[in-house]
Amino acid sequence: MAEDNTISPDPLVGTDPNSPWQALSPVAIVYFTASIFKQLLGNIVYLIPALIFSYKSVLQHPFIWLPAILVIISLMALTACLKFKMYRYRLSQDTIEIRSGIFNKTHLHLPFSRVQNVKLEQPLYYRLTGHACLQLDTAGSAKQEAKIVALPLDFATQLKQSILSQKSATPQASNNDNPDEGEVLLNSRSLSDLVVHGICSNRIWILVGGLAPFYDNIMQSVSIEIEKMGLDLSERFNLDSHSTLEVLFTVLVLGLLIVLVILALSVVGAIVSFYGFTLSKIDDRYIRRSGLLTKYEVSMGISRLQMLIQKQDWLDRLLKRVDLKLQQNSASHTQDAATGANNKIVVPSITQQQSQDLIDELYPQNTLKQVIQHQGFTGISKVFIWRQIILIWLPIYTVTSIAAWSSQQSQWLFVTTAVFLFICGLVVLRWKRWGIATDQHFVYLRKGLIGVDYVCFNLFKVQQTQFMQSILLQKRQLASVRFVLASGAIKVPMLKQSLAYRLLDYSLYKVGVTEKSWM
């Protein structure tokens, strides 16, 4: 099977259009098995509740589940082998062809000129054998992606470079002599930075939310375990036998423990996806490399950058760090948004200065720093506060308060009032953060709640604009605007009507006069 050793050092030299179809290295079987396993896991998630409830009765019948598992495993192995057998690829001067599939056969034909993005992915098991996956993205839908599943690493990097150089050679051949020299390291993240990122990033809350349906089961099994360990919780929290202070202390310690566990998980998550993070630059391409288990390499041409977002959550604010997001086209690639494989390039937990340096590097003409320093942002109308509070939060507050009051539990009134006041405070903060500024080339947005986010995009990248105004807003000469970019849309609420018109007119004007492509 291993006939790939005959590959010539330069991947595209000596390959004529009728070059033979090549098989993958046998390591690919591992990859196929892993991907089948992942798919299976993804489907099995829905079965978990059923399993939890019936695992005892299932366990009592080993003669059923043992063969079942064996059959599943052998089926998986068989499909992986078949997939591997069926997978063939062929490289020629300027195209790649891939044939794959057991029942649904696909034949993919992709000219290199249509490749927008080349990604390298190296899962853990490939590192032992020195292989990598090469993924070629096109501008079209996600289905049109080509993935060569197992290539020797150096061959993959060579192929990547020749594809990229071919691609950039067509539109502007002059400023691109040798793509593989002159890679400049722009930023790298140390382990401590990643720990900070893990603490600040909120990704763990997604996990907490996802587990919500199983809380009851988890709590049950946890309390059973605790009882087994000889602790009696109900006794521990009994106010008759313990003082209030003691109970409070126990609750606090338990809460802290949970937070610590969650934080640890979050830190681990950050390290797994961002380990060894580097952001570097070759000519006009930016390359992100990261990953502890599976190494990812994502590269993006500067012309594909749609928007820069400097994000700062409240914890980031305490630690004086920011995340910088480089956003490109998001229309097609949404399926693996949660992993490190997605197209967004995030530079995690950098300092304000580093972020500013990167922004200046990416958008040399930007004046974000001056705008921030000179308070150049125009805020939004105070109507925003009143509308949020009166239309949304006040009704909720009234209903809950009346409910609490009528059910004779007036102590809850304090809680609802406190929460209401807190939310009002947040609304005011939100209003205060909103701001917009422009210069000749860019739009700068400031938004956030406790932390401050800055968004910056080039005016000519705008795909569409929207002007929105309700009758009430019209009376006050206010309007909301929305800028639609290829990476997503941004709405700015309650601007002065004249400013809204000016912004939209100017961006349409810029789109009209700029001949540069947005891609």
């Binding site: 086209n329 998001s330 229309a331 003409q365 000749q440 080339h441 705008v462 795909q463 569409q464 604009t465 929207q466 002007f467 929105m468 105004q469 309700s470 009758i471 019209q474 639609v484 970019l485 290829a486 997503g488 849309a489 018109y501 000016r502 939209l504 007119d505 100017y506 349409l508 004007y509 789109v511 009209g512 006069v513 700029t514 001949e515 540069k516 947005w518």
Partner: protein
């Protein structure tokens, strides 16, 4: 940036503004056709409810039987509001074509103008259902790279006008690309 121009000293009132678009109404028939269509659908629903109420073939649950008159009344009220609102909001829809962009405005209480630069149009589609064909109408669907959420549709255009718009946009785009 390829061109170094300055925009600072130009009086902003001289620039073309989307505040003063040359708004073109949709086809005259459009609002009427839509109104009739809406009325028809609602009347069908009301007839269905009435038929349910007066028939004696299928026994209905008691609660439903006593609720039906209220439901019918509610449907009547909804029909009135829905059709009147629909009619006037259809009347309020308009589009505008400038050299470089296409605009579509809509909304009675919540006014909205979508502006689509022609160079940023991914593709356009002319859509004609059976009713539209009967009344010689067409809808123009416009897709941008902003994604499916931000594609929009100009409904109720006279066919010739829609074809003309489509032609203009396609030609113009070619011209901007290669000219």
């Amino acid at each position: 940036m390829t061109d170094q121009y300055s925009n600072q000293n130009v009086d902003s009132s001289l620039q073309p503004s989307i505040a003063f678009l040359d708004k073109q109404p949709l086809a005259l028939e459009y609002a009427g056709v839509n109104l009739r269509l809406n009325l028809l659908i609602m009347l069908m629903l009301i007839t269905l409810a009435c038929a349910l109420f007066y028939q004696s073939l299928i026994p209905l649950p008691k609660g439903l039987q006593s609720l039906l008159p209220n439901i019918i009344l509610g449907l009547f009220a909804f029909t009135c509001v829905f059709c009147v609102y629909g009619y006037f909001s259809d009347k309020a829809k308009s589009y505008a074509l400038r050299q470089l962009d296409l605009h579509y405005s809509s909304g009675l209480f919540f006014y909205k103008t979508v502006s689509q630069p022609i160079t940023r149009i991914q593709h356009i589609e002319l859509k004609r259902g059976p009713i539209e064909r009967h009344f010689n109408l067409a809808s123009l669907q416009i897709f941008s790279a902003g994604g499916a959420t931000y594609s929009f549709e100009i409904p109720g255009l006279p066919v010739e006008r829609a074809m003309h718009l489509r032609q203009f946009i396609l030609q113009h785009r070619e011209l901007l690309k290669h000219g």
